[in-house]
């Protein structure tokens, strides 16, 4: 068995899988067909609904991949041939020649500057050009240049420009690499469907009709217009239209729903309004599928806060009329055909899978990987797993979960070979600089135009040189690039720097990266100081460049003052208990428990109810329909019971939780106390008991769950008329979120009735049909085919139930219908469990506005809590389907393994400490600590406060609270802060 893994596809799903596996202890070969990793996410301007700068949150991961000693990247490479089986695959990879020698190329770009050829840049969705020798984007990893031989005119000006570095070699051949790996992860993402085949939309004929991805580049600061929204002729548009389902949900093109386009279009419209508040944005949609966490709220913001016009209609045509684009559509509110003249149109074209044929795995008729054994990431070949969009359309958050999920599975498969092929991370010996006179290096980053476009960086450069202790100053377009980091490294060595300042974006995303560079150069990472010029200066003073430059000088001067006083810090080492407590014995909890046990970790599964199985045990059927929920639950319970590494507790609750990552103590209601290194929250949710539509007083009104039970137990009779009402308690004032699963559930149950009693009339009253998950759009169509009626109501004109009569105003026919109903079925909201609150308090983790648990980061850390060592999966995080729940549950397995596979962990180095002699024992610090890290103890006969160094996160709240100055924060000492304040005030004298 091999201890190595091949990951195909360097997008976010592939990167996440690679990082998790490499951290757990596997050698990873990451193959990417393009010259740089990063995938589609790198092309996006911002993410939805979080509005994070996409590149800013992804680039640190890309650099982490590049730097990880256990990851070997094979970029500009393709998998040609795979044979073998689980544990022992032989893979042939074709590494296409870049004609540039990796070790000699510094990424300086001198060659590209001299290249006379302009080629449309694929990274910019062809909206901007690159050269025939190029890196696709400044943050590219690796930043080795590539010669595009197809467009190269062999003038060899690049060779001349490269000069003595001699990095360009036109005789370099393609190379075939033979890999021997234990498992394979397919994360090959997607391509865009060509919208020019829809002739009526004029893409490729008329000007200013763009795809969503092209518009993403237009919005981006590094795009063709540097973030200015401009038409092809350079003039300013005043009105932009967004059109959904271009080639998706279309029987003549792609039948499936591409799943994330609705909300990305909302995002693009919001960003447009942020760029230019006076721009008019109109968004045409069929059903607004804002189904993910936070997305419905985001859609509402788009409507109410940003004034985006949402039009429920699919336009029939787009024609160029003069310099305008004329859209012809039916205004379904007014009921008449209108034309709208706009300046620009953005088409949400369908996405199509791009699973390489060289992988002999089963794909469905649409080309997505066919999942097997009721698991989304399992393929028909043992040892080959699928992540991200390769299996079905999904957004970043779900792709990240699935990336980790595949890592968890592979980690279990190859458990016996764990650690056999890894390289120990080599940390160069740390140079002791204590006592040395400060020698500060200042690195100034333009961040493209983010900072450089506002702040006069030349002035900052000159100014920095004048500051005390500064011995070196350098300016970069992107300091975070590989080249930028290399320059920091070189400067530390050459100029004997003992303090490093990067004046750039924000420490939030980039501090770890630069600290690591310092470590590689032999400097203690805490001798690094971040000056935030982007988020604290250029972004907020975008329209005052003069003042911004002045403030940037202040910020740099303050950082220099503090840097001189920085001291070396050392993290602590804590032991790790390789056990995990999983709270919640539903499908997510059991999946995590089984995965953790397969990875060799002792697992405790805690269930409050008398039986394991949770919500899913109550389901009679589900989406995907080929799976039987009862059977799955039964099999999982059996597997849990038989696994010697899992101890399941039923009728057991959590009494108390103390401790910290690696060392938790969980007290149970039965009196037992469990030791664990990690805790998983998989407490699920439940169906809301409605107080609407006569529920409770009318015996014929029931919820979907109750209806399933009634149907299965034969209580629904032939000839009965069934009316289902969607969004009951969801998408309203009290619960603004979408419950995500109900549309699929309703359609599935409707089909179930039709299967049993084809003649029974079934009506589904909906607002937006959100059948987004794989196979559910097809179910929706099947339901229509089988004669289920779908009537659309407006959210402000909800149906009324009176006895056996349901009255609904159909918004298309503009007609009120009375429907006689024998059963009224309510698709009630999914709500969090009522004791989530209590558990959140015990764990000291936050809940979101809707009462679900709040993850560390919706996009990139969906299954982690901000608190280390605690994880969450399934409906506890937000309403979701079976596949997405088990995907998260499996993802946790990898996240846990990263912690538990190591015997010990490093703790935070920047913590608080109490000076015993100054402490007066007032204990004011104890209640203010959000991490309960402080206790009062008697030491040397004095009652003093003691900080648990493993629990302390270094937030500094206690320091502010302490009346005597006894409490000190490492790395943020009073002296350091005062030095900054002093110099700030000097500047204003």
């Amino acid at each position: 068995m091999k201890g190595s893994v091949l990951v195909i596809g360097g997008g976010i799903a592939g990167m996440v899988a690679s990082l998790d596996l490499a951290d757990i202890g596997y050698k990873v070969y990451l193959v990417e067909k393009l010259p740089s990793i990063g995938g589609r996410m790198a092309q996006l301007d911002k993410t939805m609904p979080t509005l994070d700068c996409s590149m800013c949150i992804e680039a640190p991961r890309m650099v982490e991949v590049a730097r990880h000693p256990n990851i070997e990247m094979l970029t500009y490479a393709e998998v040609k041939h795979v044979r073998g089986r689980l544990g022992d695959f032989k893979v042939e990879v074709l590494k296409k020649s870049r004609y540039v020698i990796k070790d000699k190329c510094t990424g300086c770009g001198d060659c590209a500057q001299k290249c006379p050829v302009d080629v449309p840049n694929e990274y910019d969705a062809n909206t901007k050009s690159r050269k025939a020798i190029y890196v696709p984007f400044p943050q590219a990893v690796p930043n080795t240049h590539t010669v595009d031989l197809q467009h190269c005119i062999r003038c060899f000006k690049c060779v001349e420009a490269c000069g003595d570095r001699m990095a360009i070699d036109f005789s370099m051949p393609d190379e075939v690499v033979e890999l021997n790996v234990g498992a394979i992860i397919v994360a090959t993402g997607f391509d865009m469907y060509d919208p020019s085949v829809l002739h009526n939309y004029g893409y490729g004929i008329a000007d200013n009709i763009l795809t969503g991805l092209e518009y993403e580049r237009i919005l981006n600061a590094s795009g063709p217009t540097e973030g200015a929204i401009l038409k092809q002729d350079g003039s300013h548009p005043h009105h932009i239209a967004f059109i959904q389902c271009v080639g998706s949900r279309d029987s003549k093109h792609k039948k499936y729903c591409s799943r994330f386009c609705c909300v990305y279009a909302v995002k693009e419209a919001i960003l447009t309004k942020e760029h230019e508040p006076d721009m008019k944005c109109s968004l045409f949609y069929m059903d607004m599928r804002a189904h993910g966490k936070g997305q419905e709220e985001f859609y509402k913001r788009g409507k109410e806060e940003f004034g985006i016009e949402f039009i429920r209609s699919k336009p029939a045509s787009i024609h160029q009329v003069g310099d305008k684009l004329c859209i012809t559509y039916e205004d379904t509110d007014a009921g008449e055909v209108k034309t709208m003249d706009v300046d620009m149109v953005v088409l949400a074209n369908a996405i199509v899978p791009s699973v390489p044929a060289s992988l002999d795995i089963e794909v469905d008729s649409d080309g997505f990987v066919t999942e097997k054994f009721g698991d989304p990431s399992t393929t028909n070949v043992a040892g080959i797993y699928a992540a991200g969009v390769s299996q079905a359309p999904r957004d970043i958050s779900d792709s990240v979960s699935m990336g980790s999920a595949t890592a968890g599975k592979v980690s279990a498969d190859l458990k016996d070979a764990r650690g056999t092929e890894v390289t120990k991370k080599v940390v160069p010996p740390e140079k002791d600089v204590s006592g040395e006179h400060p020698r500060i290096g200042v690195f100034l980053c333009h961040c493209g135009i983010n900072i450089g476009g506002v702040v006069d960086m030349h002035a900052i450069e000159e100014y920095s040189k004048t500051l005390p202790n500064v011995v070196f100053v350098q300016r970069n377009i992107y300091t975070c690039s590989t080249e930028g980091n290399r320059q920091i490294y070189e400067a530390i060595k050459q100029h004997n720097l003992n303090r490093v300042i990067v004046a750039a974006c924000t420490p939030r995303t980039h501090e770890p990266l630069f600290r690591e560079t310092c470590v590689q150069a032999g400097l203690n990472p805490y001798l690094f100081e971040f000056a935030s010029l982007r988020e604290m200066c250029s972004w907020v003073h975008m329209r005052q460049p003069g003042e911004a430059t002045r403030k940037a000088k202040d910020i740099v001067r303050m950082s220099v003052a503090r840097a001189a006083m920085l001291e070396q810090q050392k993290p602590g080492i804590i032991p790790v208990t390789p056990k995990v407590v999983v709270i919640g014995g539903g499908i997510a909890g059991m999946t995590t428990a089984l995965g953790a046990a397969r990875n060799g970790f002792q697992t405790y599964l805690i269930e409050r109810e008398a039986e394991l199985g949770g919500m899913m045990a109550k389901l009679r059927s589900m989406v995907p329909t080929n799976l039987d929920p009862k059977q799955i639950v039964k099999e999982k319970i059996e597997a849990v019971k038989q696994n010697p590494l899992i101890k399941a507790y039923t009728k057991t609750e959590i009494k108390n939780i103390t401790g910290f990552i690696g060392n938790f103590k969980v007290e149970l209601s039965n009196g037992e106390t469990l030791d664990a290194g990690a805790i998983v929250v998989a407490t699920g949710g439940k169906e809301w008991k409605p107080d609407l539509y006569e529920y409770g007083s009318n015996p014929n009104v029931m919820t979907q769950l109750e209806f399933e039970e009634a149907l299965a137990s034969g209580r629904i009779k032939q000839g009965e008329r069934i009316v289902m009402i969607q969004c009951v308690g969801s998408r309203d004032e009290k619960r603004p979120y979408c419950s995500r699963v109900c549309c699929g559930v309703a359609v599935n149950n409707a089909l179930d009735i039709k299967k049993r009693y084809p003649e029974n009339p079934v009506y589904i009253l909906y607002n937006d049909m959100r059948t987004h998950a794989k196979g559910t759009e097809e179910l929706y169509l099947e339901a229509r085919e089988k004669g289920v009626d779908f009537l659309r109501y407006e959210l402000d004109k909800k149906p009324v139930v009176r006895g056996n009569k349901v009255t609904v105003f159909d918004s298309f026919l503009q007609t009120e219908f009375d429907i006689l109903a024998d059963k009224v079925v309510l698709s009630a909201a999914i709500v969090p469990n009522e004791d989530s609150d209590n558990l959140a308090k015990m764990l000291k983790v936050p809940l979101d506005a809707n009462g679900f648990f709040l993850e560390a980061h919706l996009k990139l850390r969906p299954v982690d809590f901000a608190t280390d060592g605690i994880f969450l999966a399934g409906v506890a995080q937000s309403p979701k389907e079976y596949y997405d729940s088990v995907s998260q549950a499996d993802a946790i397995v990898a996240r846990i393994a990263r912690v538990l596979a190591k015997p010990e962990l490093e703790t935070e180095a920047i913590t608080s400490m109490a000076a015993e002699d100054l402490c007066i024992g007032c204990a004011r610090c104890v209640p203010c600590c959000p991490y309960t890290a402080i206790t009062m103890e008697t030491k040397n006969g004095r009652y003093v406060s003691v900080v648990n160094q493993a629990l302390c996160k270094g937030c500094g709240t206690c320091v502010a609270e302490c009346p005597t100055g006894a409490m000190m924060a490492r790395h943020f000492t009073t002296q350091q802060i005062e030095a900054m304040i002093d110099t700030a005030l000097e500047g204003w004298q």
């Binding site: 093109h253 699919k314 336009p315 029939a316 009921g335 009339p761 169509l781 298309f812």
Partner: protein, 379 residues
């Protein structure tokens, strides 16, 4: 009140039950020429909704608003054949708005019971009825129409003669039936499914008995009906169907047919049945390129406007608008002659022009049939 009775009744008619697939994207309304002319009183998706919900009384008048041109069907992302859904629903009404006082439908119904004899007509036309072959030249009902539209210079005999000349030139072995029956198109689209079925069954039987393997016709309505509707009604109907323009285009490619180009500026009216219903756009254009100087109108191919009438229904001032628009487009394109490959388009456009000559507005355009032109210009 929603009722499924209506849609259940019509779901036996091919294509009629598709109304339930409509998810109301409303793309159809914006291309529908009828919606526009009725000030959006008529909307295809609303008609689909009404059919689906069984709003029989409300939907009946709208069923006859539809000119079954199929522009909506081209766009429908759900792939609903909207005109066929309408056609199916028409079987549930008797208030058919017949044109020409229903004479053609009456004659068709008579024909369904009593086989006609066209021997004399063919003799007058100089057509040899003794030819043998496993292919059938299906003449269609134009001999019948000739009687009614002589004043429009509608010359069915020349059309048939030209066709025969073309088929002979191509060396095709074909039969012509003197006792040819109607294909059933008109009664079918007028909602008379029973008569249509009689035609289909009778025709299929005769074709089989006489060993027909392939049907050749110049009438797009016959072409559509044999190609699309017969296989759905007659089990095992597998006779190949060819439109004569396809054969002419092939003959031009192989050199069997040579055409003397005229100086005339020509444009082409895509018949709904041949174009949108069956996807034949290229062959007629290839022929027109050879016949004269070919120009396209603003709306062509799948976006081409309809003449406004099919199956001899709803010849009203409202539908005349479509012909007027089309003639205007043809003139704007600079055409001297509007060429069509459909005898019905030919009659309807000829009528429009003649009427206006009476009033007297000079349209300054001629309307011609493609087969006639080929017959005249073939070397």
């Amino acid at each position: 009140m929603i009722s499924k009775e209506f849609i259940q009744k019509i779901s036996a008619i091919p294509g009629a039950d598709q109304a339930r697939m409509c998810y109301k994207c409303a793309e159809c309304t914006a291309v529908c020429p009828v919606a526009k002319e009725t000030n959006y009183e008529f909307k295809p998706h609303v008609v689909m909704g009404m059919i689906n919900y069984g709003l029989k009384e409300q939907v009946l008048p709208y069923l006859w608003y539809c000119i079954t041109c199929g522009q909506c069907t081209v766009l429908c992302p759900q792939g609903i054949n909207i005109q066929e859904a309408v056609r199916g629903a028409r079987t549930q009404t008797t208030e058919t708005p017949y044109a020409h006082k229903g004479i053609f439908h009456s004659m068709h119904r008579i024909m369904a019971r009593q086989t006609p004899d066209r021997t004399k007509w063919f003799q007058e036309a100089g057509v040899d009825l003794n030819k043998k072959g496993d292919k059938l030249f299906f003449v269609s009902c134009i001999p019948l129409y000739e009687m009614f539209f002589m004043d429009l210079n509608f010359d069915a005999k020349e059309m048939v003669k030209s066709s025969v000349k073309i088929l002979d030139k191509l060396g095709i072995n074909y039969q012509i039936f003197a006792d040819e029956l109607c294909c059933g198109h008109d009664v079918f689209w007028a909602g008379d499914y029973e008569t249509f079925k009689q035609f289909a069954e009778k025709n299929a039987k005769v074709f089989k008995e006489r060993g027909i393997k392939e049907i050749i016709t110049f009438c797009p309505e016959c072409y559509r009906t044999f190609l699309l509707d017969y296989p759905r009604v007659i089990k095992g109907f597998d006779i190949k169907v060819r439109h004569i323009t396809d054969l002419i285009a092939e003959g031009m490619n192989s050199g069997k047919i040579e055409i003397a180009r005229a100086a005339e500026v020509l444009t082409y009216q895509d018949p709904c049945r041949l174009g949108r219903h069956c996807g034949i756009y290229e062959a007629p254009r290839a022929i027109l390129e050879k016949l004269g100087k070919f120009v396209e109108m603003k709306h062509t191919r799948e976006k081409a406007g309809c003449c406004g009438i099919s199956a001899w229904l709803s010849c009203e001032p409202e539908t005349k608008v479509y012909r007027e628009q089309r003639i205007k487009e043809a003139r704007e394109a600079g055409a001297q002659t509007l060429v069509t490959s459909c005898p019905h388009c030919l009659i309807h456009f000829s009528c429009s022009i003649c009427e206006d000559q009476k009033i007297p507005v000079q349209h300054n355009i001629k309307v011609k049939d493609i087969v006639t032109l080929v017959g005249r210009q073939m070397k």
